[in-house]
Symmetry: C2
């Protein structure tokens, strides 16, 4: 059976030494995040997820959720009790605003906790994760009355929340939505239609579930411009906050999925369910994007969380399992065989995991900091820069982060050999769970298109120029420092390829937008390579400074330097190939008649 220990030491390294939380006490909500409080969140929060959520992860996968004939859904054994503890102990409310009962912690601190929760039990984490997305949308677009009515109990965890976008005929292309919203005399709407793939759509964890639903009002255009957002509670909520009648929204079935079996992914049937418009009519897509951008960062974090727990187990197994001898001669001659750790190719997989996980952790936490800054930094210039950077890198964190999650989970399963394929060892669940993160909240291909088709060009390319400036300046500064120069030069080459590819896309995309589309995926990968490279440059700098200052955790800090070197040697060389793929353009990608894909 697998194990999990929250990687507090590494989180602290990023928060304390790389980012330096104490530099941000000028942001109002960072004042609550004193070192003691952050310690408590990481230590106690980590302990909670490891002791309460992790033990029901594998059993939850094996058992799955059950839909009963009356449409009710029960979660796997132990989920209900664990959820009650989760709510009671306050882990649900970390970053929500105090005026709605939240603890008002910085997003970066909540993100650190959220990573641990995903590692411990991704399917479980989705129940509250989806509610957080719904809360965000209500906070930004909801009326004061709606906020007062729904948000406090969603923040507390008493009620759940969902996002209802997908229908059988439409996923990415929300213009094809068929769900109807007919206005009632009392100002409410009657919602009718079928939504699919609704995570946490129905379950037994909360007394109510607040659905946010995309639908079309009568006469609305048959495109994304005709979509409105509605709030549709499972139980209507009386003015005194008590629960009223059951709304006409039911779970029609639970999807049989490859993974995340502990989360109930539902077909939701709306049969004239009562709903209320959130924000303006036909502005639903913009509201949905608020949820979606937050959700995309959360999904990128799923890549990290799964990769981390998979690696921890592969490391344990590599130390326990004895098989063969080191190429350089027996390392433990008194044993019948050496451990897997002696084998360079096992090391390669673990080092690749480590280099990507630690880079991605720094990127996710830095990304969360940009979300904090975007909203609360003291100057407009800082807020704009943060917003530009996180807007640009949200699809990268989601797309590259989840690709890493799947690849690392697969490689860590590989370390187990045949045992990795057997359910009881738990590794194959990580692969199956990690797989969904590449698909939902916009497939990774959609992320790539968001990056090259939308984010690059926004405001005349302001965001990507800002990103290049940040990376370029840090490289330039690092080249003057002998401890950093080697890494900085490797990163500079990769940055050069990214800048070259960006120029190529800008020059060729106008003539033929397919050039942009054909290069989108390798461009996203190349951006991710540079973004993780920037994080590694910062980690090298932080570790070198700490070592120079006589920090105690010498072995840990020196391992950072080795891992950075590995990243430079084993990942950054991909940059030139990625650039060449982008600059190859779209001709051979688009040339074939669809019929020619049929070899038969």
């Amino acid at each position: 059976m697998p194990q999990f220990t929250p990687p507090v030491r590494d989180t602290r390294f990023v928060l304390d030494r790389v980012i330096g939380l104490d530099r941000y006490t000028n942001l109002p909500h960072f004042q609550a995040a004193t070192p003691d409080v952050v310690d408590a969140v990481l230590e106690e929060g980590g302990k909670f997820v490891a002791e309460v959520l992790f033990p029901i992860n594998h059993s939850g996968d094996q058992q799955g959720c059950t839909r009963h004939p009356d449409g009710s859904v029960t979660t796997p054994d132990g989920f209900k009790e664990a959820y009650a503890q989760f709510v009671e102990s306050g882990w649900c409310t970390l970053s929500a605003p105090p005026e709605f009962g939240g603890q008002g912690m910085p997003h970066i601190v909540a993100t650190a906790f959220q990573e641990y929760m995903i590692s411990a039990n991704m399917a479980f984490a989705m129940y509250s994760g989806l509610a957080h997305g719904a809360i965000s949308a209500l906070l930004v677009k909801g009326s004061e009355a709606q906020k007062a009515k729904y948000v406090p109990k969603m923040v507390s965890g008493e009620w759940g929340g969902t996002m209802n976008l997908t229908e059988p005929q439409c996923g990415t292309d929300l213009g094809l939505i068929k769900t109807k919203a007919e206005p009632n005399a009392d100002g409410s709407y009657s919602i009718t239609g079928t939504k699919i793939f609704i995570s946490s759509g129905e379950h037994d964890l909360t007394s109510n579930i607040i659905h946010l639903v995309l639908a079309k009002t009568p006469g609305a255009p048959d495109s994304t411009k005709g979509i409105s957002l509605f709030v549709v509670p499972k139980f209507l909520v009386n003015d005194d906050g008590s629960l009223g009648e059951r709304n006409a929204v039911t779970c029609g079935s639970i999807e049989h999925k490859m993974g995340i079996h502990g989360n109930s992914t539902c077909v939701m049937n709306y049969d004239g369910a009562k709903g209320w418009l959130v924000g303006e009519e036909m502005k639903g897509l913009a509201a949905m994007f608020i949820m979606m951008n937050a959700a995309r960062l959360g999904v990128g974090l799923q890549g990290l969380g799964i990769a981390e727990v998979a690696m921890q187990n592969a490391v344990q197994y590599a130390g326990d399992r004895r098989q063969g001898r080191a190429l350089t001669g027996p390392q433990e001659p008194n044993e019948k065989a050496d451990t897997l750790f002696v084998h360079p190719d096992v090391r390669r997989m673990l080092m690749e995991a480590k280099a990507q996980i630690e880079g991605l952790r720094a990127l996710c936490l830095w990304g969360a900091l940009q979300v904090d800054m975007e909203h609360a930094a003291p100057t407009e210039e800082e807020r704009q820069l943060a917003g530009d950077l996180i807007g640009l890198l949200t699809p990268v964190i989601k797309g590259v982060g989840t690709d890493i999650g799947y690849k690392v989970a697969t490689d860590c399963q590989q370390v187990y050999g045949g045992h990795g394929y057997i359910a009881e060892w738990g590794m194959e669940q990580y692969v199956r769970d990690a797989r969904i993160a590449m698909i939902y909240e916009g497939t990774n291909g959609v992320q790539a298109m968001d990056l090259v088709g939308r984010k690059l060009a926004l405001n005349g390319g302001r965001a990507v120029q800002a990103f290049f400036r940040v990376v370029g300046e840090e490289i330039a500064a690092a080249k003057g420092n002998e401890k950093l120069a080697g890494f900085a030069e490797a990163l500079e080459k990769a940055l050069g390829h990214l800048q070259g590819a960006t120029m190529w896309l800008a020059q060729n995309g106008f003539k033929n937008p397919n050039e942009v589309g054909a290069g989108a995926y390798p461009y996203m990968q190349l951006t991710g390579l540079v973004a993780l490279g920037l994080m590694w440059l910062r980690m090298v700098k932080a570790a070198s400074e700490a070592l120079a200052q006589g920090a105690e955790d010498v072995a840990f800090l020196e391992a950072k330097l080795v891992t950075a070197r590995f990243y430079a040697e084993r990942f950054l060389p991909d940059a030139s190939g990625l650039r060449r793929k982008i600059e190859a353009g779209s001709e051979s990608v688009m040339a074939l008649d669809p019929e020619m894909f049929r070899a038969a």
Copy 2:
């Protein structure tokens, strides 16, 4: 529900135009493989697997195998009937020697059929696939009496066969085997021990199962040098061929696996089971390698077979599913949306699938031809060259082929978006089934080590030099042909990187074998890149010649040229990065103390 059509057109292209089966009629067993016969195998064999085996693939996955309290195992509904048809219609005996009841067809023809069978139902194909491995070992190492007793009924499919290597404490490192073989007075042995992960270990398809088992005789050294191979029938076989008493070998449990649920993967308990030595005592490993090398080629073919069926379905879905509009403007304005085919990033995934699948098909069939040549070519020089090439490339076909299978299955699942994650669409099964092929018959990391640690150096590097000579000569010839020169030049660069990396390994591996180990995986990938590149060069040549000769299937042949160009633009650029990773050496790979992989 998924679909499958045997890719006969593409197989024929490779057999007829790229390889040219008619050039090999000087090999005795190729004389039976007349064009009519090959046509019949592809058409009728393809029809059989599509109509009989494919319909029970998804249901077999969902139902799995069942072990009963008495230790018997039933396969999923329909498997028993389909197996009976499989045996009756003669598809079981294609390449087995006529003296044992086989049809004596060339291995290349049987391989073409085997690919279709895997696409249709990989779990089912494993039942006869494992038996073929056991047959090979008996034919080479068994006594005449053993061959006469066991092989004919294994060839006919009346009896099954298995390979029993793995034990709980050992997989790759067979020196750790604990299973004991105690000699009996009658010349037989009593086999006692536990074997795990035994594919097709117990089932209801055949009246007997012939287990080949690795075990140690008393006093044998505690290493791979002490291993002997035994034949242990489930039912003892009387001298008249009838079945005798039940042997003391039982299925202790069925493993709960990530995929290939239709195949019974068993824990096998040997409790003093009666067995007979195959070949010489303590030479069991060599005998096992006969099975293993054949099996590794078969596993590489699993990568191809799964990739092919996954792609066929993704292509179908991409043509059916309408979502969004082409970047260049609506392609079908009368529809609400264009098909997925208009989106460059969907095309990218399908082109990557196509380029790898068609390259891999050519490589697998060419590899099978080398097996034929190795045994039957008229001159010693030809036999040696064929043996060298297939020896070198067996780990590449297995390792790179199965990596491709998993990657392509994953990408084709990705084309489906959320539907790809849902069991009923069938795509997630392909990913789960494809996954095992990277693990069994030696993990892909073990393949990489076999390539760099063993195959490169064998006979003073004769095989790799032969491979470089073949690739180099074909490039040189192609550069003089304007139709081929572009591709040849791209391949020449990749070959240069492979040669450079080979030189680097040769120069550095003596000093420190970890340099070889750390570079093994990227070296295997680079070799695969060049090997598939060679196949694409040949396909470009074959297609160009056919077009020049006025062949009728113009669109198909022109699609080959486009796909080759895509391969040159989108895969070959990886070569320089792979070389840089190899030449980075082992220092950063091996530097960390295992403790430093624990971030917690």
